[in-house]
Symmetry: C2
Subunit: 403 residues, 2 copies
C-alpha cells in the first residue's frame, strides 16, 4: 500500500461545467404566471436553463466528462469514476457504466451514488477516501454530477439543468479538507421522487427551513469559525437560497442585522453569478457555484466554506483552500455557455417528463427547435429498450441521428 498523504492534500485538479444553452427569461415567465417580481426579486433568478429535447442526464454527464477529459489532456491515470444524480433513467444500470467507455479504461472503481442533491458530495468524499487509501497506486479520480431539475408544469420556475465533472488528485488547484467537517443525516421529508410519480413531491418552505437548520447545526460542530473562511459556497436551488444560507451564517456568527447585506456581498454573492441564469442544478449546484467563484480569480490563497445539502435529509459543512491561481486562459474551468442569452419562450420551460422511453423522448425532437449544440453530447437513439445511444450532437447531425 502506498503511503497515504493527509486527506487535505487531495482536491480538485480540474473541473468542467456544462449548462444547456436554452434559457427562459424569468420576467417573461412571471408575465405568463401573472406574478411579476416573484421569480426575479423573490427567488433572485434572471433565467433558468432548459435542456434540449435530445439531452438527458446521461448525455449531459457525457458532455461534462468529455470536456474535462479534453481540458485535462486525456489523462490515462484514472482509477475511480463515480456519478451523482437524482435524474436517473434506469433503476439498475449505473450512469457510470454508460460513461466509462469515454475514459478508454476497463478497471475503474466507483459507481453511482444518490441521495437527492447531496449525492455529489457523498461521491466526492468517497473519491477522496479512495485516493487516500492508496489502493489506486497514485491514480486519480473523476466524479460527474448531472441533473435535470423538473418540478412539473405548475412549478417550472424551479426547473434548471447542469452537469459538472471534477478531476480529483494529489496536485489540486482547490484542496478539499474533510478532516474538519461536520455532517448531519436524518429522516426528513421535504422532497422526494416516488417511483410512481413523474414529478417531485415537495414542501418548499420545509426545504428552506431544513437547509438553514442543517447549516446551523453544522456551524456549531465544526472546529473553525467565521474568520477561518473568506467565502461561503452553499448548495442552492435558486439564488435566494444562497442569501438564506448567508443570513443563517451571519446570524450564527452574531453579525448585526444591518451588516447582513455586506456579509452576503463579501462572502457569498461572488459564487451566485451563474445560478441566477441557470436555476436548479440539484447534485451539480454547489460545485457549479464553486466554479463560478473560482472563475473570478479573487479566491486564490483563501479558505472557502462549502455547504452541501440534500433533501431527505443530509448536509456537510467542510472547507476548501484555493492553493494556486488558475493559469491564464485556463482550461481548468470551462464556463457555462450562453448565460446571457435567454432565448426560449416561457411556454417551453415545462418539463418534458424525463422518465419516458428514449424513443418517445426523441419524438419530441420533431416538435421542438431546442436541440443540443454541436459541442454537446446528445441522445441519438435506442437500439433496444433500455439501451440508449449517445454521441456528439454534431456527429448525430452528420449521420442523420436517430430520426
Amino acid at each position: 500500500v502506498a503511503s497515504a498523504p493527509a486527506p487535505s492534500s487531495f482536491g480538485i485538479e480540474a473541473m468542467a461545467v456544462y449548462i444547456p444553452v436554452n434559457r427562459v427569461a424569468q420576467p417573461d415567465l412571471e408575465k405568463m404566471h401573472s406574478c411579476e417580481g416573484k421569480y426575479t426579486r423573490g427567488l433572485g433568478q434572471r433565467a433558468i436553463a432548459v435542456p434540449a429535447a435530445n439531452e438527458d442526464s446521461v448525455s449531459m454527464a457525457f458532455t461534462a466528462l468529455s470536456r474535462l477529459m479534453v481540458a485535462a489532456g486525456e489523462p490515462t491515470d484514472i482509477g475511480f469514476l463515480a456519478v451523482a444524480t437524482e435524474s436517473m433513467v434506469d433503476r439498475s444500470k449505473s450512469i457510470k457504466s454508460e460513461l466509462v467507455d469515454r475514459l478508454g479504461l476497463t478497471d475503474t472503481e466507483g459507481t453511482d451514488v444518490y441521495h437527492a442533491c447531496y449525492g455529489s458530495t457523498a461521491a466526492i468524499l468517497w473519491a477522496l477516501d479512495w485516493l487516500a487509501s492508496g489502493r489506486g497506486h497514485g491514480k486519480r479520480a473523476i466524479v460527474v454530477c448531472t441533473d435535470i431539475a423538473e418540478w412539473g408544469p405548475e412549478y417550472c420556475v424551479l426547473n434548471g439543468a447542469a452537469s459538472v465533472a471534477l478531476l480529483l488528485g494529489p496536485n489540486p488547484v482547490v484542496q478539499l479538507d474533510a478532516s474538519t467537517s461536520a455532517t448531519i443525516s436524518y429522516n426528513g421529508h421535504d422532497f422526494c421522487k416516488p417511483l410512481e410519480q413523474p414529478y417531485p413531491v415537495f414542501d418548499g418552505p420545509d426545504s428552506v427551513e431544513s437547509l438553514t437548520n442543517v447549516l446551523r447545526k453544522c456551524l456549531a460542530r465544526v472546529p473553525w469559525g467565521n474568520s477561518d473562511f473568506s467565502y461561503l459556497v452553499p448548495h442552492c436551488t435558486t439564488a435566494m437560497m444562497c442569501r438564506r444560507a448567508s443570513d443563517t451564517a451571519a446570524d450564527f456568527f452574531g453579525v448585526p442585522a444591518k451588516d447582513r447585506a455586506s456579509y452576503f456581498a463579501a462572502k457569498v454573492d461572488p459564487c451566485t453569478h451563474w445560478v441566477r441564469d441557470i436555476g436548479s442544478m440539484f447534485t451539480a449546484a454547489m460545485w457549479v457555484n464553486l466554479a463560478c467563484l473560482l472563475s473570478q480569480g479573487q479566491a486564490v490563497n483563501t479558505n472557502i466554506a462549502l455547504f452541501s445539502y440534500g433533501s431527505g435529509t443530509m448536509g456537510t459543512l467542510w472547507r476548501a483552500r484555493v492553493v494556486r491561481a488558475l493559469p491564464a486562459g485556463s482550461a481548468l474551468i470551462v464556463a457555462p455557455e450562453g448565460v446571457d442569452t435567454p432565448s426560449v419562450s416561457p411556454s417551453q420551460c415545462s418539463a418534458l417528463v424525463r422518465w419516458q422511453s428514449a424513443e418517445e423522448w426523441l419524438q419530441l425532437q420533431r416538435s421542438t427547435k431546442m436541440l443540443a449544440p454541436s459541442t454537446a453530447f446528445a441522445l441519438i437513439g435506442e437500439e433496444q429498450v433500455g439501451r440508449r445511444k449517445y454521441a456528439l450532437a454534431e456527429d448525430a447531425d452528420a449521420g442523420g441521428g436517430a430520426a
Copy 2:
C-alpha cells in the same frame, strides 16, 4: 488524522441476514410451467423466497439492520451507514435516510450506492476506505444490502428476496483485503431496469457469459492463485451460477475437467446451501453466500476469494480471511428463517409490481395471507405521497396497521 491501519485489518465484525419466510417450491413451479427439471436440476434451486405483501426493499433493510443492531449490542459508535439496492422506491430520497433513525444518530456519513448487483461491494469498499481514512476517529461502519428480485410473471422462477446488514470495523471476524483486488468495469447491456418499464430488460445467456468473462479477467489480474484461497464465494442469481463460476475458476487454473465436480464440492458448494432455497438476492447475494459459508464453521483460519458482479457491467475479485471462530451460539450470523418450509402456492410467486404506490401496495394485504412475521419490519402505511411508514409487524398488528 488518526494513523491509518493497513486496509486488510478492517472487515466484518458482525452480520445479520433476513430472508422472507414465504417459499415457493421449485418442483411445484416446474409443474405449473410444464418444465420438470428445468428449475431444480437446471438452475439448482429447491425454492425461491417471496416477500410478504407488506414488505418492500426498505422494510427488509430495516429488518436486517435492526437484527444486526440487536446482535451487536446496540452500538453507538457508528459513523457511516450506506445502503445498496436495485429495488429503490424513490428516485431521490435514499433508503439510508429511512434507516438512520434506527441508529439513534444524526451525524453518519454515507448514503445509497447503486450499480445492479454490484452496488453492495461498491458500498463496502467505500466503507472500508472511510474506515481507513481515520475521519471517523475510530467509529465503525454499517452497510445494508436489500433487494426484491422481480423478473415479471413469465420469469418468476428468477424471483427472490434478501437483505443483509454488515458491521464493519477494526476487530473483524472476517478481514476484507481490497489491496490485492482486481476490478473490471465497462458498458454492458445484459440487464437493466429502465424507469418506464416495470420489470427488468435482460439477456440471460449474456449475463452468464458476462459474469464468467469478468471473473476470468479478474483471475488474470490478481497477484494470487488457486492455492491462496480455500473457498470461492461468488455472486449469483441462482445456484447454477455458482457452479459456472466454479467451473470458470477451475478452467482458469488448469484443473482437469474430470476434477471439476470435486473442485466445486470443496471450494464453492459450501456457500450455496442457502441460495438454493432463496433464489435471486441481487445486491445481497454474495454476502448471504458468505454468511452461509461462515455459518458452517469450517472456514476459520482460511482465505476466501470473493467475486462480486453486477450487470451493466462491473466485477471485483478480492480476498477475505476468517481470522477467528465465531463464538459458540454466535449471534454474529443470524441464519435465514424458514429455509426448509416452502409454503406458498406457485401461483403466488409472481411479482407484485413493487413500484406502485405504498397505498396500492397495502391494498394487496387484503387479498393475500402472505404477511411479514412479527419479528420483521413491515410497511404499515403512507402518511402522504412518498412518505412510507415502517414498524415491526407485531406493532403494526397491535395497532391495527394501516388498514
